[in-house]
Structures are given as structure tokens and as C-alpha cells.
């Protein structure tokens, strides 16, 4: 490992531990009360799911409006597994159920992705939106197949194991994974497909394979985030995973800037907090205006930064050595938003 990289690694490691320590200290002194802790945990889960969509749309350019369906599939399958093996709340079962969540979402993504990923842009968006609605109807009627899933009345009873520590560790691991994927040869192929599918094809990239792989990977991440959700919030309901939730993921990825891991992470956390801060700032009398202000912020933000807040830029440590001179320049590897 070259000297400079090792130094960077140590700095990032220290920074990560410092962020963790600061949050834990604030928690200990009750500046962060359980309410804000819940919000923070939700922001971390949102980030994981949004990183999945970032791979699919931000880096590979495949328009998906059904991301929440995979998030929900992960949540329900992980939740169901943990509920059925309720006997001991062991960490091993927790990890296994997260992997099951990711696997179920990934497998369904493979089955649906193989046929529909040959659709282009808006048509792909509608097909995934349709899939999301089918999954939602399935969840609403799931109790007819397995009564433990609860159907339209929702499901509870999943052991609540995921706490801030787990979420933080998993988020760091997922960010590292996404970074390594994006700068691997597969990730480069994804970016090539996003920029120009025909050119990528001509270069010898198996575009179908790359698109399906990115889709499966992104959806599996959503499934894992869903598994986390099931272990953090005791009540799962189909309406938490409908197409409006898919739009939440989409606007985080777009507002953050397509093709930017930093953008997705920062925007996901900021967006979840914005909603709660608005509740706090507006108080009892103006709480009705929350949705209006939220919508106005969204419109103003996208008009002011149509290319997204971080459009193709990355914080230094998210860019491995050979690429760090390219990113962020106009002709750099991540430039352009691949519309």
C-alpha cells in the first residue's frame, strides 16, 4: 500500500470513529433523545436503500420507480424469518435474516430484471412502477398465504435488534462496498452503459449482463436496508413501501447528484432530518404547512441545482488512487448526469 493511501486510510478511520464517538457522547448526555435517535437511525436506513438506487440509476442509468418494493420485500422476508425463529435474539440470526432480506430482494430483482431491463428510460420506469404496485398488492394480501405476514393490517413481532451501532457499522461497510464496486471494472462498465449503451456494447461490454447485475445488486442493498428497518421499527405496513416511498429514494439520488456516493449519503440524511426539523420548527399551529414547505423546498432545490447538489463530485476518500485525478473535472470519469 503506497504511503499516501495508508495515510488517507488512517485519517478516514479516525474521522469515522470520531463521528461515531461524538454521536454516542451526545446520546449519553441526552442532547440526542430517543426521538432524534429514531430519526437518525431512519436516516441511516434511508441512506443504505438510496445507495442501492444510486448504483441502479446514478451509476448505470437504469430508471427505476419501484425501489421501495425491494426495500419492502427485504423488510418482510427478514422480519418473517426473525419472527419465526424468535426463540433467541442472537446476533447470528440477525445477520442471517439480513442476508435473507437481501437475497429475496436480489432474486426477485433478477427474475423481473432479466425481462424488463431491455426497456428504455421512461418505459422502464413505468414497468418498475407497475412491479412496485404488484408487490404492494401482494403485501396487502400476504396473510392469505402466510398468516404471520399480516396482510393489510401490518406485521409486528420482529425482534428489535438493530440499534445505532449496527446501523452505523453496516452503513460504513456498504459505503465501502459501493465505492469499491463503482471503481471496479464492473463499475466502470456500468458508467459506460449509462453514458452510451451502444458505445458500451461496441466496446465489448455485455450490456444486458451489466444492467441486470447492477439492478440485482442495487435491489439487494435495498433488501438489506429493509431488513434493518424490520429490526429497528416494530411495525411493518404495506403502505410504508408503496410507490411514494420509491419516489423518496429517487429524489434523494437525483437531488444528491447522479453518480455521486457522497451526494446520495449527504442528501439521504439531510432529507430525513429536514422532514423532522420542519415538524419541530413549525410547531403545533403551523404543522399543516409541513407538506407544503417540503414540496416547495424540493421544487426550489431542483430548479437551483438541476444537476444535483454533488453532481459527479466525490469526497476524496471515496475515490481510489488511480482515479483521484479524474473525478470532479468536466471531462472526468463521473462528469455528466446521464439523463
Amino acid at each position: 500500500m503506497p504511503d499516501k493511501n495508508r495515510k488517507k486510510f488512517i485519517i478516514v478511520l479516525i474521522a469515522t470513529i470520531a463521528v461515531y464517538a461524538v454521536i454516542r457522547v451526545l446520546e449519553g448526555t441526552e442532547i440526542i433523545n430517543p426521538y432524534w435517535q429514531r430519526v437518525l437511525d431512519q436516516a441511516l436506513i434511508m441512506t443504505m436503500g438510496a445507495l442501492g438506487l444510486s448504483i441502479i440509476y446514478g451509476f448505470t442509468g437504469q430508471f427505476s420507480l419501484g425501489h421501495a418494493a425491494f426495500f419492502g420485500l427485504g423488510a418482510y422476508s427478514a422480519g418473517l424469518f426473525a419472527k419465526l425463529y424468535n426463540s433467541d435474539h442472537s446476533m447470528f440470526l440477525f445477520i442471517v435474516s439480513l442476508l435473507i432480506g437481501a437475497a429475496v430482494a436480489g432474486l426477485l430483482a433478477l427474475l423481473i430484471g432479466l425481462p424488463i431491463l431491455r426497456l428504455r428510460s421512461d418505459y422502464l420506469g413505468i414497468a418498475t412502477l407497475g412491479f412496485g404496485i404488484i408487490v404492494k398488492v401482494g403485501m396487502d394480501n400476504s396473510n392469505k398465504l402466510i398468516s404471520a405476514l399480516g396482510g393489510a393490517t401490518g406485521m409486528s413481532g420482529t425482534p428489535q435488534i438493530a440499534n445505532f451501532d449496527w446501523l452505523f457499522i453496516f452503513l460504513i461497510l456498504i459505503v465501502l462496498f459501493v465505492r469499491n464496486f463503482v471503481y471496479s471494472s464492473y463499475g466502470r462498465a456500468c458508467t459506460a452503459v449509462r453514458e452510451d449503451e451502444i458505445a458500451a456494447d461496441v466496446l465489448g461490454i455485455n450490456t444486458t449482463k451489466i444492467k441486470v447485475m447492477a439492478f440485482v445488486l442495487g435491489c439487494a442493498l435495498a433488501g438489506m436496508a429493509g431488513g434493518m428497518y424490520a429490526h429497528r421499527y416494530p411495525f411493518l405496513h404495506p403502505s410504508s413501501f408503496d410507490f411514494l416511498k420509491s419516489f423518496d429514494f429517487l429524489l434523494v439520488v437525483v437531488l444528491g447528484g447522479l453518480g455521486s456516493i457522497t451526494g446520495t449519503v449527504v442528501t439521504a440524511i439531510a432529507w430525513v432530518f429536514l422532514l423532522e426539523v420542519l415538524r419541530f420548527v413549525l410547531g403545533e399551529t403551523f404543522i399543516d404547512f409541513r407538506g407544503v414547505i417540503y414540496a416547495l423546498i424540493l421544487i426550489v432545490a431542483i430548479i437551483m441545482r438541476p444537476q444535483g447538489i454533488f453532481s459527479g463530485k466525490e469526497v476524496g476518500f471515496l475515490v481510489p488512487k488511480p482515479f483521484d485525478t479524474l473525478v470532479g473535472r468536466k471531462d472526468g470519469v463521473n462528469a455528466g448526469s446521464g439523463s
Partner: protein
């Protein structure tokens, strides 16, 4: 068999209302290549204005429909001017996000107590529902009103697009903005005009919807909007006859599944058919499959 025929008529009623909404989606997509997610909420505003028209402002139904159409065309033009025009030459996804923002804004703003209020309202119909028995079919006066209104509006649209200068301008802009400008077409005005017409159609659809299914609330536009938009994609987005065809198919699928299979599976089956159709015809039933250009 009679029951089947009745259900087909019910489906046609629903489908024709979807058609009014779908036309707005498809026309806007034709000229600016944008999925106007706020369109379903314009439909909602139309339903509310019409409702206030014939219940509180003492208007006759045709006048209420006209008022709703005028209000909504103004709304459509304002939305385009504020939220979409600044993003016209930005990446397409930016305008889509802006459209989502406008949609949320209209929903939450309408829910405010001093606007429409957050509650469901039951619509007092301005006239009684009358059932007629024609050749063994059960037909209501509401169905007749819906059929007649939609057919008149479709004829009007056909005339507008193929027989007037505005229509010609719209067709030109849908091919190429720059070429249209070189031909002397005022692109901005034409786009505004398209939004105005599309929104007026949605408003008419909204008032009819409120009369046919008499319950309205600020979030009522989401599902019909989504279905209508799906119908437009099913028929081939950007193609006007496609929108009508898609909407009629959508209405039939939905009504027939809820009547003979299960009303809970209605949406799932409608979207399943959409995905199947897209797999066979990736650009919709009437869509042109353009070859890849390098």
C-alpha cells in the same frame, strides 16, 4: 351474459374518464418529453372546482365544467411557467423531480383548512341518477353524460390538433424544438398552450369523476393519475389515439377484474398486463419502435 355487458359499459365509463386524463399526459409528453406527475392533481383541483361550482356557487353542471376547465388551464400554464420552464434544457430527470414537487405541493396545499380541507367530501349530485333498461342493458343517465361529453371533447381535440394553426404548431414542436423555432413557431407559447389544453381536459375528467364516483378529497388524483398515465404508456406515450386506446383497455381490465375475479387484485392485474404488453411492444401498442442511432 347481461352482467358481462353491463360491466363492459361500466368499464367504458371508467376508461373514457381515464382517457381525458391520459390525453393531458400524452400531449405534454409529446411536446416536452416530460412525465407531468402533477397532472393527476390538476384533475383533483378540477373535481373540487366543479364540486364547488354546482353545490355552492349555484352553477349548472355545464357551467361548472367550463369553470373548472378555465381554472385548471390557468393552473397548468402557471405550473409550467414556474416549475418546468427553468428546467427545460436541464437533464430530463430534473423536471421530473420538479413535477413530483408540484404534485406534492398541490396535494398538501389543497389539504390546508382554508383551501379544500383534508377531509373526504361526499358530492351531492346536482341531479338524480336514473337507470334505464335499453335492450336488456342497464344504463344510467350519468353514463350517457360521460359518453357524450368525452366524445364531444375527443372530436374537439381532433379538430384542434389537425385543423388549426395551434394544433399544427403543437405537432411541429413535438418533432423538434429548434426546427419548430426556425419555422417561425413560438415554442414557449405552444408549450403553454399544450399545458392549458391538457389541464382543461383533466379538469373536465375531474368533474365527471366527482359526479360518477361521488366522493372527493385532496389526494384523490394520485391513483387515477397513475392509471391514466399507465394507459398513455400502454397505448404509446406521445401518441393521442394511443392514449384513448390505452385508457379504454385499462378501464375494461380494471372493471372486469373487480367484477369477476377480485377487487383487491384489480391494480395488480392491470399493471401485470402493462408489463406484458411492454415486453412484447417496448414502446406501447401504437408506439413506433425507433431503431438505435449511433
Amino acid at each position: 351474459m347481461e352482467n358481462l355487458a353491463d360491466q363492459i359499459i361500466n368499464g367504458l365509463q371508467l376508461g373514457l374518464m381515464y382517457a381525458l386524463i391520459a390525453l393531458g399526459y400524452t400531449m405534454v409528453y409529446g411536446v416536452v418529453k416530460l412525465i407531468n406527475f402533477a397532472h393527476g392533481d390538476v384533475f383533483m383541483v378540477g373535481a373540487f372546482v366543479g364540486y364547488f361550482g354546482f353545490t355552492q356557487w349555484g352553477m349548472s353542471v355545464p357551467l361548472a365544467v367550463l369553470t373548472a376547465m378555465v381554472v385548471c388551464s390557468a393552473l397548468g400554464v402557471i405550473i409550467e411557467r414556474i416549475a418546468y420552464r427553468p428546467l427545460r434544457y436541464a437533464p430530463k430527470i430534473a423536471a421530473l423531480i420538479s413535477a413530483l414537487g408540484v404534485s406534492l405541493f398541490l396535494e398538501f396545499f389543497s389539504s390546508l383548512k382554508f383551501v379544500f380541507g383534508p377531509n373526504y367530501r361526499v358530492v351531492q349530485r346536482p341531479f338524480e341518477e336514473v337507470h334505464w333498461n335499453v335492450l336488456g342493458l342497464n344504463i344510467t343517465n350519468i353514463q350517457v353524460i360521460v359518453f357524450v361529453t368525452v366524445l364531444i371533447m375527443l372530436a374537439l381535440l381532433q379538430f384542434l390538433i389537425y385543423r388549426t394553426k395551434v394544433g399544427m404548431a403543437m405537432r411541429t414542436v413535438s418533432v423538434d424544438h429548434n426546427a419548430a423555432r426556425l419555422m417561425g413557431v413560438n415554442v414557449d407559447n405552444t408549450i403553454s398552450m399544450t399545458f392549458a389544453i391538457g389541464s382543461a381536459f383533466a379538469a373536465a375528467g375531474g368533474v365527471l369523476y366527482a359526479i360518477a364516483y361521488p366522493q372527493i378529497h385532496p389526494f384523490m388524483g394520485i391513483m387515477p393519475g397513475l392509471k391514466a398515465f399507465t394507459a398513455a404508456v400502454l397505448g404509446g406515450i406521445g401518441i393521442i389515439p394511443g392514449a384513448v386506446l390505452g385508457a379504454i383497455i385499462m378501464g375494461q381490465v380494471e372493471t372486469l377484474t373487480s367484477a369477476f375475479l377480485s377487487s383487491q387484485l384489480r391494480d395488480a392485474i392491470a399493471f401485470f398486463i402493462l408489463i406484458l404488453v411492454l415486453l412484447v411492444r417496448p414502446t406501447g401498442i401504437l408506439g413506433r419502435n425507433e431503431p438505435d442511432k449511433v
